[in-house]
């Protein structure tokens, strides 16, 4: 859920766009990170760990800890807490370490 009224802050969210989480459309804004937009849509499980397949969410939200790795437009290990939403972007839960594609 997004905060509509705040005693101190105004939020400049940018333009509304649609991106895809595991193939399903999600609304986001261009000034939001993927993690924030997913969070606003109630999505907090971003991937699963490589060995025990435990669910993974964000932890630091400033690009430091690697807990929020997802696959974005085919690229694995994207830190979605510091990557902004783009229209039509395809964001997928990452299972394990991710595979780097070499074209």
């Amino acid at each position: 859920m997004r905060i509509e009224e705040h005693p101190i802050l105004d939020f400049d969210r940018g333009t509304q766009v649609t991106f895809y989480f595991n193939g399903k459309p999600v609304e986001g804004y261009t000034n939001e990170t993927i993690a924030a937009a997913l969070h606003a849509a109630g999505i907090r499980v971003l991937g699963h760990s490589p060995e025990l397949h435990r669910p993974r969410g964000l932890f630091c939200a400033i690009g430091n800890c690697s807990s929020c790795f997802m696959t974005v437009d085919g690229e694995p290990n994207v830190r979605v807490c510091v990557t902004k939403v783009r229209d039509g972007m395809r964001v997928e839960e990452q299972h394990g370490k991710g595979v780097v594609r070499v074209d």
Binding site: I3, F11, R44, G63
Partner: protein, 370 residues
């Protein structure tokens, strides 16, 4: 291609921004590399008013202080600010490598100021990896930068200033806070912050810790328990708190990877919250021309980070020969300001830590462990 600069500042938080402005003020040209896509560091989410003295903008909210520091840097033609620029390594031949917008850059600075800040500490307990367990800074980023409600109901761990302030900010954002738990026998943060959240009806439970977190796919609740005088869990004192977010405000630790990699002599100093580079009174490390300012040289506050940044900026520019007389004078003023900031009761801890760091510097060679 190698990009030359007189002074490279790594990090555009309070220390880095202040360092850049101070160095440019003396006449040096400065390049700032910032990992994030915007400058300001963690000031961008500090909606509370700062303490300290007028010189460090006390009474002003962190977000406005950040904008002021950023504005000064942007207006200064001597300073180039590069965002989305992650410094990767500092090498013996003086080259610093940077990942900038997915491209690899080489920079050759004459002096470098590391102002990389800090990372949040974590706690060990079963289930601590469940989605919904966030650092206090992450919760602040979600609600104060993105404007997204981070949770429905939060349990806060840590009654230091960060835990207390973030609790209040959660209430401002319309989030329920089940309580604040603190392992120590008393509240660590300022009374003014604690009183605000107590008035809002949030319980603060001292001598309490997390036993475990549970939930199928994400956090659904936390088991907490009481601690005895020795800090041991009291059997039978467990309680269950239903919450969808557990917020950890259990301290910060210096983000020193670049200092280690550059070969700085390091020491583990409890009072400074981790390993820190050994620095002299101008904040120069054991690697000549490499300075460390702000939380990276010991966890303190944004106000002292700004003064440390200024000091390092002045010292770096002064050592390049820019306005030596003025540099000297300003350096003394910055040191006096730091001493004043550290004269209070919490400053005593920092002073003790710095004394141990200096002592460690004298013993030389290897890592000093306390």
């Amino acid at each position: 291609m190698i990009k030359d600069t007189e002074i490279l500042v790594i990090g555009a938080g309070p220390a880095g921004l202040a360092a850049a402005s101070a160095a440019a003020f003396l006449g040096a040209s400065v390049l700032i590399c910032e990992r994030d896509d915007a400058p300001g560091g963690q000031l961008v989410k500090q909606t509370h008013k700062f303490f300290g003295s007028e010189k460090q903008y006390a009474g002003d909210r962190g977000i406005y202080i950040g904008r002021r520091l950023t504005g000064a840097v942007r207006e200064n033609p001597q300073i180039e600010l590069m965002t989305n620029a992650t410094v990767l390594g500092i090498y013996d031949d003086g080259i610093v490598t940077v990942l900038h917008d997915n491209r690899h850059l080489k920079i050759r600075p004459q002096k470098t100021i590391v102002a990389t800040g800090a990372a949040e500490k974590f706690l060990a307990f079963p289930g601590n990896d469940l989605p919904g367990i966030y650092g206090a800074g992450a919760v602040q980023t979600l609600m104060n930068v993105a404007g997204v409600r981070p949770a429905e109901r939060v349990l806060m761990v840590g009654a230091g200033n960060i835990g207390l302030i973030v609790t209040y900010q959660l209430l401002q954002a319309g989030v329920q806070v089940a309580g604040v738990i603190e392992a120590a026998p008393k509240i660590g943060g300022y009374l003014v912050h604690a009183s605000k959240i107590r008035r809002a009806g949030v319980p603060i439970l001292t001598r309490h810790t997390v036993c475990e977190a549970f939930g199928t796919d994400q956090l659904e609740g936390v088991r907490i328990c009481r601690l005895d005088d020795q800090g041991q869990k009291i059997p039978g004192s467990e309680e269950t708190v239903a919450c969808d977010t557990l917020c950890l405000a259990v301290g910060l630790t210096p983000l020193t990877e670049l200092c280690w990699q550059a070969g700085c002599e390091m020491a583990w100093i409890r009072e400074l919250s981790g390993h820190v580079p050994i620095v002299d009174e101008n904040l120069e490390t054991s690697v000549p021309g490499l300075y460390a300012a702000g939380d990276v040289s010991g966890i303190e506050e944004a106000s002292s980070a700004m003064v440390e940044g200024r000091l390092a900026g002045l010292a770096a520019a002064g050592s390049l020969g820019y306005r030596p007389e003025q540099a000297k004078e300003e350096i003394l003023a910055a040191r006096a300001e730091l001493a004043e900031l550290r004269s209070g009761p919490t400053g005593g801890k920092i002073m003790a830590g710095l004394a141990r760091m200096r002592e460690a510097g004298k013993t030389k060679g290897g890592v000093f462990v306390c």
